[in-house]
Amino acid sequence: MTIEARFPRRETLRDGRFWLLCAIVLLLAASFGLPSFRSKANGVDLLVVVDITGSMNTRDYSESGHPVSRLEHVKASLRAILPDLPCPARVGLAIFTERQPFLLFEPIDVCGAFAPVDGAIAGLDWRMAWEGDSHIASGLYRAIDMAHEVNADLVFFTDGQEAPPLPASGGPEFTGERGAVKGLIVGTGGFALSPIPKFDAEGREIGFYGVNDVPHENRFGPPPADAEQREGYNPRNAPFGSAAAAGTEHLSSVREPYLKALGDKTGLGFIRLEDPPALLKAILAEARPHPVERERPLRPFALGLALILLVALYGVPPLWNRLKQLRADRFSTLAIWRKSRA
């Protein structure tokens, strides 16, 4: 005797797994028809300016136990963070010596053209310098103008050592609008004084700068206020005193207070370069939010939800049964054990 039954059976309709399966089918079907939604992502626009003057050759960083120069460390750090910049990441590159930055290329999207940007950073060399002076403040102000022109945030790598030293009257004044260009000054170098390598005309290293190789005082402009107390002071013939200036300008360390002051004056942030992750964090913290609308398809969400439900459907019951079984086994073992004791 057979009973003509209708499908689905009532038990099926009462079975949660049936409805779970239906939900999965709906989700999978929906994954074909879902529209994209627009989300905002933050890209970055950076103008990276790297100081390539002589003091940047000072070897006071170490990488895997070897001393490396500041310039090499800057290059390695930049190349390390390049892949981690959020897309679209437009990066322009400029080098700085004397008193102006020299633009190598205008900002280009690293996400689309990684190899040339990476290669250009790797190719940075102190030999590209067209002059030995480094008037950091002037260079920074012009770099700020340049960043404004190419509509990017500034990342300025320098050790802050003005060569020749600033005159007693102080450095040039910043005439731009404070904070109009956002960005970061990255101080490079150690806190201890280190010798600066010296090179001959052919580019071969020939030792270090000695105390007599560099000027220690800038004698342009009016003399400092304490000049009258100096030995051999004469208002007309020796306004800076008669003794040669002594100092430590032939040695180099990161001039952090000076760079911080420059940052305050111009509205830029400051960080001392240590490891790449900290640099990346600081850059992203200082960079202007640069929202880019991105179309993001909803399909992965539908598919992901379907997968979660599928795993719940097929994974949870066996797990549940196994747990129940284990408990039952334990109880029965307990019961047998008790019985045996009794």
């Binding site: 049936f18 999965i24 999978l28 900002p107 190899a115 067209w130 379907a306 997968l307």
Partner: protein
């Protein structure tokens, strides 16, 4: 043909496809002993098929999540093109007009003209690889050889910014040559020198350049942007003035000719002539070059999602037509018949 994934790390989810092997989605029925049920081949088959369908559903959903796609390989093709090093004079005088004045009004400086014309040239040379070197007091590698046109245009766009001091053409040439020789390909190599003047090349550097030119095998073009009233390539020397110091352009030309490599100089005195010269270089440089092109990719997410949808539909169908040992039509749930159910045990 190759399969790749947009998010390969999501492939770690595919082992979840083994979950259905632990049990199915059908109801279990208590039955005293399976031994009392005759073996039924069809039931076995259907049970296996359902397990397999469930595996396929989870598997293809996980694969679809990983963003599978086909294609995208690099293929080598042959077209017209070259590896070109742009060697660009960045001395301060490039920012003046052809008349030797700072540009005023709508006037175009030599650097402006060079930038505009080179940008056009780069855009038209789809298959070329370009590198850019600037030179003034020292040579500056601006961009390594690349086929990314955006990057090349970015570097060319930077050449009309304020220039630097002097013109050290010898070291500039050496740098551009080293840029070209880094790539050991068989394609034709072009060195395009854009300058508004020349300088004396140190004899020692001349010797090095000679050997490097011979080794690198390049076609050399010199786009000489001549300023009015300045010395040029084709000037006839006055007696006693035919020295590299007095007439550096003429002597650079003589040096280039003595290299015995394909060489052509274009002496241009206005922006229009720059365009004509660059167009001629474009015509001359039609050598075969092997370039790589990426095949278009085809997104296979839809395919795998459809597969998951079909197999999940089959599972729903199985669930809909699920019977039980005890049909609900009998209020007491008594065994109606002892025939084996197709969906006896999941």
């Amino acid at each position: 043909m190759s399969l790749s994934f947009a998010d390969p790390q999501l492939l770690w989810l595919t082992p979840l496809a083994a979950l259905p092997l632990l049990g199915g989605v059908l109801r279990r029925s208590a039955f005293p002993s399976l031994a009392s049920v005759p073996v039924d081949g069809l039931s076995r088959l259907i049970s296996l098929a359902l397990t397999f369908t469930a595996v396929a559903t989870i598997g293809s959903t996980a694969l679809a999540l990983a963003g599978p796609r086909r294609g995208g390989e690099l293929v080598e093709k042959i077209g017209d093109g070259a590896e070109t090093a742009l060697l660009i004079d960045r001395s301060g005088s490039m920012n003046e007009t052809f008349a030797g004045r700072p540009p005023e009004g709508g006037e175009e400086s030599k650097a402006n003209a060079a930038r505009r014309v080179l940008q056009d040239y780069v855009r038209r040379r789809q298959h070329d690889r370009f590198g850019v070197v600037g030179f003034s007091t020292s040579p500056i590698r601006m961009l390594p050889l690349t086929d990314k046109m955006d990057a090349v245009l970015g570097a060319v766009a930077a050449i009309d910014r304020p220039g630097l001091d002097y013109t050290d053409i010898g070291r500039g040439l050496a740098t551009a040559l080293s840029l070209l020789s880094e790539d050991a390909g068989q394609s034709s190599r072009v060195l395009l020198l854009v300058s508004d003047g020349a300088a004396v090349i140190d004899p020692k550097v001349q010797q090095t350049l000679r050997t490097t030119f011979a080794r690198t095998r390049v076609n050399l073009y010199w786009l000489f942007l001549r300023t009015a009233n300045s010395t040029g390539i084709s000037d006839t020397p006055k007696p006693g003035e035919d020295t590299p110091q007095a007439m550096p352009e003429r002597h650079l030309d003589i040096f280039f000719k003595s290299l015995k490599i394909p060489y052509k100089a274009f002496e241009v005195e206005n922006p229009g002539a720059v365009e004509a010269a660059v167009a001629e270089i474009g015509r001359l440089e039609t050598h075969p070059i092997v370039y790589r092109e990426r095949l278009p990719t085809e997104d296979l997410t839809g395919f795998f999602a459809a597969l998951a949808l079909l197999s999940s539909l089959a599972l729903v169908a199985a669930k809909i037509f699920e019977a039980g040992l005890f049909t609900s039509s009998l209020p007491l749930g008594l065994p109606e018949a002892a025939r084996p159910s197709r969906r006896r045990a999941a």
